[in-house]
Amino acid sequence: MIKKILIANRGEIAVRVINACRELGIQSVAVYSEVDHNALHVLMADEAYEIGPANAAASYLNIDRMIDIARKTGVDAIHPGYGFLAENPLFVERCEQEDLIFIGPGSKAMMLVGDKIRSRVTVAKAGVPVIPGMTQPLVSVEDLMKNADQLGYPVLLKASAGGGGKGMRIVQKKADLAAALESAKREAMAAFGDDSVYLEKYMSSPRHVEIQILADQHGHMVYLGERECSIQRRHQKIIEESPSTALTPELRAQMGETALKVVQATGYTNAGTVEFLIDRNNDFYFLEVNARLQVEHPVTEMVSGIDLVKQQIRIASGELLDLKQNEIVSRGHAIECRIYAEDPEQNFLPSTGRIVYLQQPSGPWVRNDSSLFPGLDISIHYDPILAKLIVWGETRDDAIARLIAAIDDYVILGVKHQLPFLKDVVNHKDFREGRTSTDFIESHYHDWKPVHGLKKIAVAAAVIQEMNAEHDFPQRQRQRDLYNPWTQLGYWELV
């Protein structure tokens, strides 16, 4: 069994992995960039080392430095979390060369599934249904035009190395193709260091349903049910749940078996996710493999009772997967929502700031995966995810009611976030009734603005707080009857 793990990540996922290590009696090593030196994962790990400046390319993406720290601290294994180096085949290869266990698939499988085009071709050969589209990367704008014409508009432009919606563009008509191509390539280059893109037929109003799989190094593999992640903004999942309201037990089994075909065809091992789109006829199409622990893995953990991080570590240690397909039972319903540092009043642009007040929800069947603390600076440097709120309920209705109560309990001041938006979405009649699709947000919330019916009350509360603060300075004369904030300002600036 692995004895010591370097966690090559930050934020809530680093905390999650350190927690699992602690419970398994495994030593944990954290890394941190200059701006993260007081972060929660740094405090929780058994050891922590600075890895470079704020800029991720020089720190969390710095392979040489990462390997260097792994060597120095004598770890057996590296857990990459998600994002950063998690799906970088060069990093996996380097770990293999250095005789360090990479907690994830081998470099060959990683290379294959990371190439969206090659993996499409590979799984199609194995009999897995794929979305119509290109089987080669794009070579020119002319090539693009021709392929788009053949597929018929709208088409979807995707980064071959992609993930997380980056480098993805829906193109409605020919005239928009060139501009979309340039922007997609630029974003893909910035995100993945690779600007290859390709075209797929754009499916209208599909559901996004993905299958969680576990595969050990001895050929044994299982699927752990599905997650529906149709609720997306800008191709970013924001609400995920299990089970999906679209699946019958038969369809679930069929998709599970298909996911295992993908695993076999690609030689994939460890935890992974096979993503599908489901159209209105309940036909499903392979989308891609996410070769990592997913952001939304807690949803599966809550319904299956299986700790995916511990399974990852056991599989990476070379252990036999001790799960049998017919013993994996999903119980009840779990929903996750992702809390982002975004400003709903400014079209959900990312927001930065310092968390000045924090109250995180808790309670039976409420899970809050977070690395937040009061005083934390949310900077421009990293992904704007603040936390993940996950609830479980005996039924979907129970879970929705619990999620709404937990959102109501969540207080984050000092940085803008979209909790009120998330509450609106899960409260929506169509969501409650299970009518979800990937264009749900676009069609229902085209121009959403927060309801701010309490602005005046907020102003009153602020003024009352100011006056109360004044009482802490008895040595200064107060003007009691007619309150004049101009005199108050002096204190304020002094404090």
Binding site: R186, D343, L349, I380, Y382, P420, V459, A461, E466
Partner: protein, 165 residues
């Protein structure tokens, strides 16, 4: 003389009276009466004749962050006596001649040039922040008078990007 606060671009003129544990707060000609009770240094209960509220307030110089009944606000004080704040107030009115950055980031692309006539919602520039490309659009119609930044520049939140005529 009244004090002004702003919340998400809306201006509130405020005066306050206190006697015992009751505050009379006049906001934009709307007079409200509140009893209050502090729960801890940041939490308070407010009771008006119609309703009661649970508020969380933290203060920093010039602004308060307030959470009331599941809604969050930043309440900023407008200080008119200083020139720097004069500009701040300008931003709040629709005819503001200044387009500022909503967040810190890197300017990837600028689509307009000085002298261009622009329309509401027209794309002006692409700002990269937190690994995402964000399309910054025009808040109103106008003519570009001045562009303060070039492609590739790093900008702070609140900096003036484009001035309109």
């Amino acid at each position: 003389m009244h004090v002004k606060y702003t919340v998400s671009g809306e201006i509130f003129h405020v005066s306050v009276n206190k006697s015992d544990n009751v505050y009379t707060v006049k906001i934009n000609d709307d007079e409200m009466i509140f009893e209050y009770r502090m729960i801890d240094p940041h939490k308070m209960m407010l009771r008006s004749p119609d309703a009661s509220y649970k508020a969380i307030v933290t203060t920093e110089p010039g602004a308060s962050h307030v959470h009331v009944n599941h809604q969050s606000f930043k309440v900023e004080k407008i200080i008119q006596s200083k020139s720097s704040d004069f500009k701040k107030e300008h931003l709040l009115v629709d005819e503001s001649p200044i387009i500022t950055t909503p967040m810190p980031g890197k300017v990837l692309k600028v689509f307009v040039k000085e002298g261009d006539e622009i329309r509401t919602k027209q794309s002006l520039l692409i700002l990269e922040a937190m690994k995402m490309e964000n399309n910054i659009t025009a808040p109103r119609d106008g003519i570009v008078k001045r562009i303060n930044f070039s492609e590739g520049d790093l900008v702070e939140a609140g900096q003036t990007l484009i001035e309109l005529e």
